[in-house]
């Protein structure tokens, strides 16, 4: 336990506001009448729908299958009838809709058949496919498909496994409460991760503002048959960021543009470990999670919520109050304002933070940057936020990239300390998304260029091949004709050769015509022959009739 801890540079310590919600016990949110389950709940390709309108689905039934490597399945959170497979509002800052499956619940909450997995008996690759089909994705915020992260890759093992119980962001307490109440299952999940990754060192990082969680996890770790070190880290935002947690626990930094696995470290959130234990030991897919509902509500607390439950139902449950100015999904530092409250809870929803003017006074008007570099002191990624801001604002994205824009974790420390109240992170997000769009456009242009050049090459080739074929044919014919008259004696002149060529071509054409004449009219039995004649006679008559009025029209 006397392991040395390290420090990460920068960071801030905003008021924690954890006590509001972590004192009340976890309550299960009631089953809503309608569940809306988005197919895009994780990073990567969205799931492909497997059900259609009118189908009856059971709780835990797969309703969208993983599409590609970086993807995860989605499941019905309760039993009922599929009422729609269409575009519905989703929890995204843009307010744009996305493909969702709506389920009218029947209240029976009937489970689909499910059984535990024997993870030690399964081959690791098979187990990962099962986990992908159980919809596991990181519950810390990024919702990266867990099955992909549980693949140690070519190295065959990942020496260090870090379980992140930092939960550094103010107001949020879902991980805290999870660790207090379900520590054993979290560590059972860790055992499965350890099995898949072949890790030898397991570090659980928990911030020191969660003493009950630390005690519960230590007690649970003592009961496990493997060594998991519960490490108490000083509370400082964003200490729960994966890179910061790695630095605090191991003293190592993830190099720019690399993954933590490149230095032999993998990080999972405690919620993911719990979901993994439920998936393996009970066969349950990821259909519910803990959500903190806090801020401007009467009873801030944590709920066990089915994925697809509308957010307004949770706020009503926690006791909505007058004077709400907005709702964030996530915490005050990195949370996203929700365009409306009909949007469902998804795998990424760790917190619903209801804002009011007293708790979250509107920011004063942004003033020009005075280049005080307080943001640079606060930046945990050791960037130069004031420079990044300057380049992003001017649209000089190349320079922004040179200043390592993509190492920005969007933690919001720079905006938090900015004396000019500039929404710095918004500028970085804007710059990142512009760069991605440009790269996408560039890839599309390169593809178009390649296809256009290939088309030109193909047309040239076809033209050449055609010309060659014709030349070869003419050559062969000429040789053939040259050989024939030689038997007669006289060598033919150029004009004669040409004439002969034409004659030969004519003969060929006639032969072909004779060949292709319809054969089914030859050698007919007399009955059929008679029928044909009758039909022909009728046709002649019709033609005659058709011509007559025409002629009479023309005469006058």
């Amino acid at each position: 336990m006397s392991r040395e801890l390290f420090k990460f540079k920068g960071g801030v310590h905003p008021p924690e506001h954890k006590a509001e919600s972590n004192a009340r016990p976890v309550r299960a949110a009631p089953l809503p009448k309608k569940l809306v389950i988005p197919l895009r709940q994780h990073i990567g390709s969205p799931a492909k729908p497997l059900v259609s309108v009118g189908d009856r689905v059971l709780k835990g039934q797969m309703i969208g299958e993983a599409d590609g490597t970086i993807s995860a399945a989605v499941h019905a959170s309760s039993s009922g009838i599929v009422s729609a497979v269409d575009q519905q509002p989703v929890p995204h800052i843009s307010g744009l809709p996305d493909l969702c499956i709506s389920i009218e619940t029947d209240g029976r909450d009937e489970w689909v058949e499910h059984r535990p997995l024997d993870y030690r008996a399964l081959a690791p690759a098979d187990l990962r496919i099962r986990l992908r089909d159980l919809g596991l994705a990181g519950l810390g915020g990024a919702v990266f498909p867990s099955a992909v992260k549980l693949d140690p890759g070519a190295a065959q093992h990942c020496p260090t496994l870090i379980i992140n119980g930092g939960e550094c962001e103010p107001w949020i307490t879902c991980d805290d409460v999870l660790m207090r109440t379900r520590a054993d299952e979290i560590l059972q999940g860790v055992a499965i991760m350890r099995h898949l990754l072949g890790s030898t060192e397991i570090l659980v990082g928990i911030e020191d503002n969660k003493p009950e969680a630390i005690a519960a996890m230590q007690a649970a770790a003592a009961r496990m048959d493997f060594a998991a070190e519960i490490m108490v880290v000083p509370a400082r935002y964003p200490g729960g960021g994966a890179k910061q947690m790695i630095q605090v626990l191991t003293g190592r930094e993830v190099p720019s543009g690399k993954l933590s696995t490149d230095i032999g470290i993998q990080v999972f959130n405690v919620g993911t470990a719990y979901a993994l234990a439920r998936a393996v030991h009970h066969g349950e897919p990821l259909i519910s999670r803990l959500v903190t509902v806090t801020g401007h509500v009467l009873r801030p607390q944590n709920f066990e919520v089915l994925i697809g439950t509308p957010m307004h139902a949770l706020i009503t449950l926690a006791g909505d109050r007058d004077g709400t100015t907005g709702v964030l999904m996530g915490g005050p530092m990195m949370g996203m304002p929700m365009p409306n409250l009909d949007v469902p809870v998804v795998k990424a929803t760790n917190c619903i933070l209801v804002q009011s003017a007293e708790l979250f006074p509107p920011l004063p008007k942004a003033l020009p940057c005075i280049r005080c570099t307080r943001c640079a002191d606060a930046c945990p990624a050791e960037l130069q936020p004031q420079e990044l801001f300057r380049f992003a604002k001017a649209g000089d994205f190349g320079r922004a990239q040179e200043y390592h824009l993509f190492d920005c974790i969007e933690c919001g420390c720079c905006s938090y300390v900015c004396p000019s109240h500039i929404p710095l992170v918004d500028f970085y997000r804007y710059a990142k998304s512009e760069i991605w769009t440009r790269e996408k456009d560039k890839r599309a242009a390169d593809l178009a260029r390649e296809r256009h050049e290939f088309r030109q090459f193909r047309q040239e080739r076809e033209k050449k091949e055609k010309a060659e074929k014709l030349a070869a044919k003419a050559q062969a014919k000429r040789a053939e004709l040259a050989a024939a008259p030689d038997a007669g004696g006289a060598a033919p002149s150029e004009a004669d050769a040409k004439k002969a060529l034409i004659a030969a071509a004519l003969a060929r054409a006639q032969a072909k015509k004779a060949e292709t004449a319809p054969k089914n009219t030859d050698h007919l039995p007399p009955g059929t022959q008679r029928e044909i004649e009758e039909i022909e006679a009728r046709r002649a008559k019709i033609r005659e009739l058709a011509r007559q009025p025409l002629e009479s029209d023309e005469k006058p």
């Binding site: 895009r40 989703v90 995204h92 843009s94 744009l96 996305d98 008007k365 942004a366 003033l367 020009p368 500039i422 929404p423 918004d426 500028f427 997000r429 804007y430 990142k432 998304s433 512009e434 991605w436 769009t437 456009d441 599309a444 242009a445 390169d446 593809l447 178009a448 260029r449 296809r451 256009h452 050049e453 290939f454 088309r455």
Partner: protein
């Protein structure tokens, strides 16, 4: 005196040889300026500039035979990039070659298509699949939106569909620009 002349002549010959050798050894294939211009052009291959595609236009710009403001799909931004590259003043887009339009892809109404293959022959990037007397379909991911398939279609079954903004295509907007607070007193 003679020695000095010989030394200078010797140096001249040596340098000449070195230059001659490197001119052959490090010869640049193609026109590097045209390559750079081509990289900026949007590769729509629409021919609105009056050339037979983006590459010929790039070569014409590189030779100084064409102006930089003839490409409507590239828009003002494209003109600005070309001006930056070539070190000339950016100028407004030449409207006689068409106006910039929102990005679209072609769409074939499969009920009306008669399978004549004329659009397939017109497509500069082979983004239409189909065969004679078979229904044709646009490969949307590869369509550049050049509209070259519209005129040959004898039954007018091709329409241009603008690309709608959806979640995968959504981008963060430029944050609301800071406004300087102007009070009544200071403006007076």
């Amino acid at each position: 005196m003679l020695a000095a002349i010989l030394v200078m002549a010797g140096i001249a010959v040596a340098i000449g040889l070195a230059l001659g050798w490197s001119a052959i050894r490090f010869k640049v294939e193609g026109n590097p300026l045209a390559e750079k211009i081509d990289a900026i052009l949007p590769q729509t291959q629409c021919g609105q500039c009056g050339f037979l595609g983006c590459r010929p236009y790039a070569e014409a710009i590189a030779k100084g035979e064409a102006d930089i403001n003839l490409c409507p799909p590239g828009g003002e931004e494209g003109v600005k990039k070309l001006a930056d590259l070539l070190g000339v003043e950016p100028k407004p887009l030449d409207e006689t070659h068409g106006a910039p339009k929102p990005k679209s892809v072609a769409f074939i109404d499969e009920q009306t298509c008669i399978g004549c293959t004329l659009c397939i022959q017109a497509c500069p990037v082979d983004a239409i699949s189909g065969a004679a007397k078979q229904m044709h379909t646009i490969i949307a991911a590869e369509c550049t939106g050049c509209e070259l398939c519209l005129p040959p279609c004898p039954v007018d079954c091709i329409t241009m569909v603008p690309i709608a903004e959806d979640l995968p295509h959504w981008k963060w907007k430029h944050p609301v620009v800071m406004l300087k607070q102007v009070s009544g007193d200071s403006s007076a």
